[in-house]
Amino acid sequence: MSLVINKNFNNDKNVWNIELKGEIDIYTANELKKVLIEVVSINPQDIILNASELEYIDSTGLGVLIGVLKRLRQQGKDIHIIEAKKNVKKLFNITGLDKIFKVEG
């Protein structure tokens, strides 16, 4: 019932690598929002979200990602979601957001 967020900027590839561990819900979504908005403000580049240890996401979390994606798109940048678990992928699939975000691997 908590969320750990690790971020680091990859200078070679010019992308943000962000690792999500735990659960994104109404309790933790604000934390995610804060980190992503900060990251995008510092340096608006592609974000690669590693979701291999993300156990849970719901509409609140998806809403945060949509908000950040909208900002990034204005700069021609994207959000990639990699290594998502089956249940997390399912949320992207049923909402059609797998067509908006780059959900990979």
Binding site: I26, Y27, Y56, D58, L62, L69, N87, K90, T95
Partner: protein, 146 residues
Amino acid sequence: MPVINNEEIGDKIIESIDMTVPSKPEYVGVIRLTVSAIANRMGFNIDEIEDIKVAVAEGCTNAIKHGLDDKFYINFEIGSDSLSIVIKDNGKGCNVEEIDEPDLLNLKEGGLGLFIIKTLMDEVEFVSKKGKGCQIKMIKFLGDDI
């Protein structure tokens, strides 16, 4: 606001668990664990438990986010072949006709919750009236998914 009648469910109601919960984000996780335990005990498989967990959390999140009362209610009805969950608040309510379906061409940060619930559960009934609170009832049948 019309209260949904239990008799509408096909199978006999066997057991019922009621909860009153503070309208605070930190308790949605507690309810996720509670409903997972109930669904697990009933024999739902892992994927079904996950669906139920997400749908119930969405319902609770709405009660907290939009109901804006200080508490909300959940009722779990454990039938022989179904789990029926009612989430109810006496908060702000809304005008059901004004709720839009999500639109991928015009993405918004909100508006996915009810859509997710309807997708994951077998039957969903949403009743609300401005100023009169909100009630959502969702049912998942056992042994439906293959």
